[in-house]
């Protein structure tokens, strides 16, 4: 029974979650694109010079604002530090997961660690913990809705279970050690739609931890298109509106 459950979680549910996530992301973006635009500017003016001339590279400015968050840096530097650390670590984490594919060769095949040797996951976990704690403090607490806690809690669980996989690999000398090659077998089978049982590649008691990590990641993907994480796709266009 347990084997069947983990198989559903680690194979069919992954496909459903990814397809669902991609479909709704596209649908959400299309909804915005299909809506009427506003025929006038919504910009604000960071300086007076731009009044009589076209704004200098507003798209570059929008990217700058979206990726460096200068207003946050200026007014809440600690929050900004965690935001930057989180976003950089998140990008590295995506890269690290892609690196599991046998075709990508950043880390050696027999490596027991992902890119960053577990540090990336820890940075994400600590940042998420900070974001969550921050939500319990006034005045942010007053504006927080249950969905804000849910997405943070879900992400935190995904990150912690990922950390456990990472730490587990270094805690033991035998039985639980899995290399990049083992994970690559699982991911490769997913990419190639072989529907093979992940047990073939991932052995030992560690399997349920990986299953839990995949289950949480699936839930995250299912919820992502309806969450505020969609700002990943809209941060630049939004900042472009402000830049003119």
């Amino acid at each position: 029974m347990a084997d069947k459950f983990w198989y559903v979680v680690m194979v069919p549910m992954v496909y459903v979650s990814v397809a669902w996530c991609l479909f709704w992301i596209v649908a959400r973006i299309a909804e915005v694109l299909r809506s009427p635009g506003l025929p006038r500017t919504l910009r604000i003016f960071p300086d007076g010079k731009s009044l009589h001339e076209p704004p200098s590279a507003p798209m570059a400015g929008a990217f700058w604002d979206a990726f460096t968050m200068p207003s946050v840096r200026k007014t809440k530097p600690l929050f900004w530090a965690f935001l930057i650390a989180f976003h950089i670590a998140f990008l590295l984490l995506i890269l690290a997961h892609l690196d599991i594919l046998p075709q990508v060769k950043i880390m050696p095949k027999d490596s027991e660690h992902m890119l960053g040797n577990g540090v990336v996951g820890v940075v994400i976990t600590v940042s998420l913990f900070y974001f969550l704690v921050r939500r319990f403090r006034t005045p942010v607490r007053e504006i927080t809705v249950p969905g804000d806690y849910l997405i943070l809690f879900l992400l935190l669980c995904v990150a912690v279970s990922g950390d456990i996989i990472s730490w587990g690999n270094s805690w033991t000398d035998s039985g639980f050690v899995m290399t990049k090659k083992d994970f690559a077998g699982y991911l490769d089978s997913l990419v190639k739609f072989t529907f093979a049982d992940p047990r073939q590649y991932l052995s030992g008691a560690h399997y349920s931890v990986i299953g839990t990590h995949v289950l949480l990641a699936n839930l995250f993907l299912l919820y992502l298109p309806f969450s505020k994480i969609m700002h990943a796709f809209f941060a630049v266009p939004l900042n472009k509106l402000r830049r003119g």
């Binding site: 694109l33 919504l42 007076g48 929050f79 505020k228 939004l238 402000r242």
Partner: protein
């Protein structure tokens, strides 16, 4: 609330959902960066008055009627039904927002609270709960445009009185030339607040500079914009646009009125004339040597309040400062200033629609900011800000002289 009324109001919400609004409503991460940016929150500590607090009213409604999560799990983002209670709550937050857009500076995504509040205002208007002083004035403006020929005679009669006063104060000019109207091909069509205090000093400056100008029949202020009604706002600004186009005016110069300037500069689209605020024109005159100013007239330390719609939302920062520095060697900026300046608390028509007690309650940070300059003269470039700042000056006992920049310039003019 009747079902039909509900449907009508929800239709208004649906009509407002354009690209920017969809992104604004969907992407707020409630990080709280905008909270401290709002003068109303900073002065009162009431979270409902913060930008995100105000916007959440609309977001919750949007969640209920336009999002899948609102239907599947309404508790997730606290979706709400539209009812009388919601309407009352939204009235309190919509018509207490000055639309200064200071929150937009601090939001990592640049979410425009003024745009979101325009939805709230449209729905309040739709429910006939709008602030009547604003609506009445907006309707009067529209009616003036529609019955232009009938009101013209009365306008000229009133103008003759102002002309007489002008000629008494600055003798040597024929009344009709002192404040001219209907001048074809004028270099400047000046749009005033249609009140004596606004026309007299500006007319003196325009004449001292030897400008070829004409006074508009219409008042600059746009009450439709304060109401958040794009239709009314358009009807009001089209009167001025038509006048400028029929006269073939080269420059449409807006008196010191922030909203009027922003609408004419950034909303109406490209037209046959150039739009500028009177602050820019004065700066031009000073730079070109067309007006000369006596620096001994203005006494004491002078500071300047950047009107939100002219500065942050209009891009005019340095021009008024240049003029003031030509007037005095004792100029000091407020902190913060320019892009990050605190709103006076009277914008968005609040100076007309809101109770003075309310306006003063939300202006504490402004009063503190002004007090910290140690200035004796407080100037600004917007008549709405001017009215509010005079009240702030009295209420917080700042003991300052509050003046429009044009008033100071007019007083310091050296006539040659």
């Amino acid at each position: 609330m009747e079902a039909a009324e509900k449907q009508e109001l929800l239709k208004l919400l649906g009509e407002k959902l354009n690209q920017s609004i969809l992104m604004y409503l969907d992407n707020c991460s409630r990080c709280g960066m905008c909270i401290d940016a709002c003068h109303a929150y900073a002065s009162t500590g009431d979270i409902r008055l913060s930008a995100v607090g105000r916007a959440q009213n609309i977001r919750r409604l949007f969640e209920n009627y336009h999002k899948i999560t609102g239907k599947v799990a309404p508790w997730l983002n606290e979706a709400v039904e539209i009812d009388e209670r919601w309407m009352e709550r939204v009235y309190d937050t919509a018509f207490t927002c000055t639309g200064c857009r200071r929150c937009m500076v601090y939001c990592p995504f640049g979410i425009d609270t003024q745009q979101i509040q325009a939805i709230a205002k449209a729905m309040v208007l739709g429910a006939d709960m709008d602030p009547k002083p604003l609506t009445m004035r907006a309707k009067n403006s529209i009616s003036k445009g529609q019955n232009f020929q009938q009101t013209k005679e009365k306008f000229i009669k009133e103008l003759d009185k102002i002309r007489a006063e002008f000629c008494e104060k600055w003798p040597g000019m024929e009344p009709e030339k002192a404040i001219p109207i209907d001048v074809q091909g004028a270099n400047v069509l000046f749009v005033s607040m249609a009140e004596k205090p606004s026309i007299l000093p500006t007319a003196s400056i325009l004449n001292a500079a030897g400008e070829h100008w004409s006074l508009s029949y219409f008042e600059a202020v746009n009450f439709g914009a304060f109401l958040g009604s794009a239709e009314m706002a358009q009807q009001i600004y089209e009167r001025i646009v038509n006048e400028a186009e029929s006269l073939g005016a080269k420059n449409l110069v807006i008196c010191e009125c922030g909203t009027a300037y922003r609408i004419m500069k950034h909303v109406i689209g490209k037209r046959s004339f150039n739009v500028m605020t009177f602050l820019e024109l004065m700066d031009k005159y000073v730079k070109e040597g067309r007006i000369k100013l006596d620096k001994s007239v203005v006494e004491g330390k002078v500071t300047y309040h950047d009107p939100c719609q002219i500065a942050r939302n209009g891009g005019v920062y340095e021009e008024p400062r240049n003029v003031l520095k030509a007037l005095t060697d004792n100029y000091v900026d407020m902190t913060p200033n320019r892009l990050e300046n605190w709103c006076c608390g009277g914008g968005g028509g609040l100076v007309i629609a809101a109770e003075p007690e309310w306006r003063m309650m939300t202006s504490r940070v402004k009063a503190d900011q002004i007090r910290a300059t140690g200035a004796e003269v407080l100037t600004t470039g917007c008549e709405m800000c001017f009215a509010q700042l005079k009240d702030v000056n009295d209420d917080f006992e700042l003991d300052l002289e509050v003046k429009l920049v044009s008033e100071l310039v007019s007083e310091a003019l050296i006539w040659e």
